[in-house]
Symmetry: C2
Subunit: 121 residues, 2 copies
């Protein structure tokens, strides 16, 4: 299975309310948190400052009225973070939207690319 190309193609930004949106950045962040188990590690993996990562998460938690990311401080594992059931649902839904949208516009995307000049880097 060939991995999805994340540098080019269609990017989806879901605007739930005028001030509430979910795009590739937040989705990737959720995914990284799921994989790494920590906000800090996710941020590092994405080249994003911890503060920014935390801010985005806080924003999502507030927007959805319920946390998408749960956190723990201190302790044996020195604290960490993970996705709540809602967080997992949101991530899954977003990825599915990406897939479906990508499939739906494949033809037009190809046609659009044909209009581009030959690349000679």
């Amino acid at each position: 299975m060939k991995p999805r190309n994340r540098t080019t193609g269609a990017r989806l930004r879901i605007v739930l309310e005028p001030e509430i949106a979910l795009g590739p950045g937040k989705a990737d962040l959720l995914e990284e948190i799921e994989q790494t188990g920590s906000i800090a590690a996710a941020g590092r993996a994405m080249g994003m400052s911890y503060k920014r990562a935390w801010s985005l998460i806080e924003e999502m938690n507030v927007d959805f009225g319920t946390p998408l990311v749960h956190t723990t401080k201190g302790g044996k594992s020195y604290g960490g973070a993970g996705l709540t059931p809602t967080g997992k649902k949101v991530l899954t839904l977003y990825r599915r939207m990406e897939d479906k949208a990508g499939d739906a516009i494949r033809g037009e995307l190809k046609a659009l690319r044909k209009l581009l000049p030959d690349i000679a880097d």
Copy 2:
């Protein structure tokens, strides 16, 4: 026919090359130019400075290797602008992608909305 909601919903950003992208802003700009016949008028209609509008157009013209917008200076009509055949194609393709993507993700979008708290503005 109910007009499309442009404040919420899915927004599509097509990344052709790492530095070449087409999103809602440029698409709307192309459409406004088609309708108004002028860069300046299009900018005014969108609350966008002439300079920014012109810059975006120039960017597109360069990116696609051929102009999407043609312009004339001076003369009886004091100059103006319009879409080239390529420009029309690009706009049409983008709108079609929006439509198809929107249709494709309708279900997930609804599910995602259900996760949002009731809005009490």
